[in-house]
Symmetry: D2
Subunit: 371 residues, 4 copies
């Protein structure tokens, strides 16, 4: 339903990049859950631009203000609303190119859909800024899952054509990788020795006035088997719905994903076994999901992000006011690589989606068990 | 919401492989739309097993019976219910392996989720048979879109490691390809000369008791710009939600998809231009969608299907009743390649999802304009 | 969403009075719940016409056939579909008045909404027959609630201007009343001595070619406090949404309802007390709901049913084809009093709505606890 | 879905009486609709307490701040968020009675539902204050309907046991009544000569430390026939769902409502006729709705409001912390009659519900036609 998603736990996202504020309403939480503002601020910080030559120099404090649903540091069980004021807009930068649709952006499609009444400044409702409230809400969802032993992490699987080390197959080693990821701020690599090469590749593209894309991989450990509601609300369906809401995502795959298309059944099926009284699979080609339902093994998925469409190279485009062709020279502050900042967004989306599916199964009150 | 999806046009899918019937309720159609039963039967036929060594020898007539919502060959505007009786079950085949979870299937996850009460016969609710009512409903949705000049088609982009020719970039040539696809029944290739090689590769895997996967590519031509409802109901989100409901789909990508991750912005952005008074893009790396909204160019996406999990090779697994390990030798009738039959399923899912998005924008009554 | 209602447990109703079948899809049930077909048949029988001069002489066997979601007599946890074939149509009766809108019916509004393509026979989608699948689904929901100690019953609070005895205020006496109601078939009075007078009043109206209305009152005992999801999904909102879906309902009130409008606060507030370690109210003017959430006291509500619109007196109306005025003389079989048959429908609607609200709070798996 | 309602146009309400802010997200509006802040402020003013002895002396400026979805005074087509800061809380008043459940309020039910973590101050999420964002959103919806010739108004049908003049049956006279109502601020009577007697009755109850209830009647003129989506989303169902979300509403009826229960069919059916080429009904007992679908005649409904539960008389209740019985003496500022202030709330709820139903039929773009 447009800007609201979720059944038992639902999230409504609102705002425009240069409007007064962006925010979210998170509904369906149990009462009495601790709202750790420092934890949320840490997640907001990971999404924040760093001014390190990789991301835009627009710096927003991104302070999350709770308008409802929190009392004495805990959820009240009613709709939780969070708001982030927009404070660092430099709309003047955009006025210069107003009317010229930026290729790869939503400028033209928003113009058609909203018939010229869209708030085009800074991408409006289509700005990556809209992921900030998703991160805040997701941080809260993740803390609920964490209290139940569920761990989630996302790393830079691939950036500017360079790979990180992959997630480990074994649960023990994966747990260590996820723990290490939680310590890292802003450039989420499993193998930190690859950071400099990646950053150099980004800076090289930036120097040409260009931008790069990449792939983010998420793993979830400790998830109960049984989450997912086929036919339509398979775990993959719910998560992909959320992932494709993140601006720039153009592909999503679970487990071995597209590589499975070239496999034979004997190579794609995960043999089952019993270990410590628990049913496990000996491989995890299916990424922890069978038939749309989690199987208790690590949930693993990847999303492909196209390169930031805002580049400084001249581009051929159309003036939407006059319907004539024109050359566009983008000004303003833009990330040559949005992917590192998107890691925490992807984690947040997963945390929210999984909390919704688990709440459907176990009920709202379950969220608070253990706190 | 579990077995129901869609806002303005909604679809409820029900049934189990070996239960009395499978079916669907399609709600939100305008009144007065022609229900062309022969057209629907043609689509059902494309999904049907052919007994040609590529697909299961279980042959269902798959006759669609309309229980409601149709009167004198036209929609009444109320909920349209279609039912397909299950007639060709051979449940005995499954009794032999009852208790043994088939690797790659939903046997184990369904067992956990439904606590042993699931109808496991033939995969139950998780059987590919559940896509039959989706095809029938999608055929009807497609006929509504077709009356408005929207054309949809899906081809075997890749099967058993072999590629078809890709969709053409230009709209005129693409139109010809889609027209040709509509003529083909059951093995949807843009380049029919590759059919024999592909079939040989499938038969070779089948001869080893194994199965193959593949990739299906869909193109939609003539779609109005402006469909899609971000933040959450982006066109990609809605379509991927539906695609990941199709059993065996493990990856979905739009436009250049995962390949965009390795691109630079200058290579990923589609320059805009004016042609015949209409705004177009000169390339289509974004697959007809920007910011989650259709841009009027061809919508192009691909879904990766893992190989059929039912193979005749012996597999290591777990007896769910005794929680002991066991060897599984699958009997029964199974497709070594499900992908050819899934082409029409993918088309159907797209037709339904797009009709829902367009109806949100233009209203229910719009569906009937032109008829 | 049109023909689907409910969040955690959802119900989709389909069918037309003279189409092939009517039915429902009930989704969101736990697996392993017993499906007692005899219990469901008993409820269907209460809704059935009796040919006793009070209700139509059209007799449908109303056999419920389960198409999906049931295996070995228990729910599978997937969408449960039930179908009732239409067998006793006499569409010829309707052909005679085709084109003449029956006053008080949906003939004209359906004609506008569906632009002449509606299945008008027997009221089509607007027939009281559509409540049959609601009863079947509600019977199943009620049996789930009953296993948790929740009791529901509905009586003929008022019919043809005559009152039944009201529900008792005390829980113990109310329990006895509900138990007695379960025994009664077809004419649900708390004081059976009033039956003859009521029936006489109905027959008197019928003799004049007229029909009567009435009020049905429902009580629910043993409901846990805490059900209801304000702001929008208050217990009253959810229940009234369902009640106003029942054809002929034109008013709904909870507790003392409209009479509260004339009260003062001191007379409307229910004092709280502690009894047996449990918080109770000493009166129940609010009908078991405060702030949209159940308070653990008996839930009490009433719905007003207008008289059956099909009467044999001549009526002034419009020919929808020619848009000219005309006199209408209705033929066919019609109930002079639909209200007695609607009692079980109202109970069914309540059972479904409450199961949905309780499942949201306690989770799907909770449904099966105790079985 | 808890705090979100609506299909095509959806409304999310958030906030607590003494939290930082209350507000709403209105989603599904077309772009380009004028947002008349003065009009909205006028509606907010009608809901505002007047300190005239009838309503609480707590005065909130209730300034509506738009956080998103508005640009240059027009809707952008994306989610519109409005926020009203809470500024005049005197939580100290509530601290005195903290722990003592106020009879007739949600104190006890919220305590059970939210397990002691609710924000109890001033009624929290259950305060009548939550209707302020509903009024703001409804004012905007009404202005969209008004541009299409739809007129809505609500009057004090009954207050403290005294009646206003009823709505006129004829459309012309009703139009005059609605126009007159728009002029009146704060005490919406069709016959202003009854104002003093009503106010005296309220003041008399207030003088005893008591409160009064009443009935509000709404009429909608100029509504197209064809709105409403049976089976479940009948016009009555959607409107009653919204009306029962308004705190204190305990009964809802359409047309002649409960009085229809005592009618015969010949007295309840509205004869149809043709006037000026248009199908009309000669009476309007059904309140403009047949079969859950609007028929083009005036839509008329009433909601019963129980008396304000906050009274100054001593009341018997329970201390929720100690689970012991206690006497409660309420302090603070409370309305002896909430009903006059609720008139605009009821109008707002109707405007929102009808806009949603009409948008489903005609599409989002239809909203802007005529602007």
């Amino acid at each position: 339903m447009k800007n609201t998603f979720g059944n038992q736990v639902s999230l409504t996202i609102f705002g425009e990049s240069h409007g007064p504020a962006i925010g979210a309403v998170l509904d369906g939480l149990a009462a009495g859950l601790p709202v750790d503002e420092a934890h949320i601020a840490r997640w907001m910080d990971r999404r924040r631009a760093r001014g390190d030559g990789l991301s835009t120099s627009r710096k927003e404090p991104d302070t999350v203000r709770f308008l409802s649903g929190v009392y004495n540091g805990r959820t009240t069980g009613t709709a939780l609303t969070l708001m982030i004021e927009n404070t660092a807009q430099r709309s003047g930068d955009y006025a210069k190119t107003a009317g010229l649709a930026r290729p790869g952006h939503a400028d033209y499609t928003a113009h058609v859909k909203y018939q010229g009444f869209e708030d085009f400044r800074g991408g409006g409702h289509f700005s990556g800024r809209l992921t900030a409230p998703l991160v805040a809400a997701g941080a809260l969802c993740q803390s609920i899952l964490a209290a139940k032993g569920v761990r989630i992490g996302t790393h830079l699987y691939r950036l500017a054509g360079l790979d990180d080390q992959p997630f480990a197959g074994g649960e023990e080693k994966l747990a260590a990788q996820l723990a290490a990821l939680e310590e890292r701020e802003g450039f989420a690599l499993l193998d930190p020795s690859r950071e400099e090469a990646m950053k150099a590749a980004v800076r090289s593209a930036a120097a040409e006035g260009d931008s790069v894309g990449g792939i983010l991989e998420t793993a979830v450990l400790g998830l109960p088997a049984g989450a997912g509601e086929p036919f339509f609300d398979s775990a993959e369906s719910v998560l992909s719905h959320l992932l494709f809401s993140i601006p720039a995502v153009k592909g999503v795959e679970f487990g071995d994903g597209f590589a499975l298309a070239d496999q034979k059944g004997s190579g794609a099926n995960d043999p089952l076994a019993v270990q410590g009284g628990r049913v496990v699979t000996l491989t995890n080609h299916n990424g922890g999901i069978n038939g749309g339902i989690t199987n208790g093994m690590p949930l693993v998925f990847r999303a492909a992000y196209k390169p930031t469409p805002s580049i400084y190279k001249a581009q051929h485009t159309v003036n939407l006011a006059s319907l004539t062709e024109a050359e566009l020279q983008i000004q303003g502050r833009h990330d040559p690589a949005i992917v590192p900042r998107a890691a925490v967004v992807q984690t947040a989306a997963a945390a929210f989606g999984l909390l919704d599916l688990l709440t459907a199964r176990f009920g709202t009150l379950w969220q608070r068990e253990g706190f």
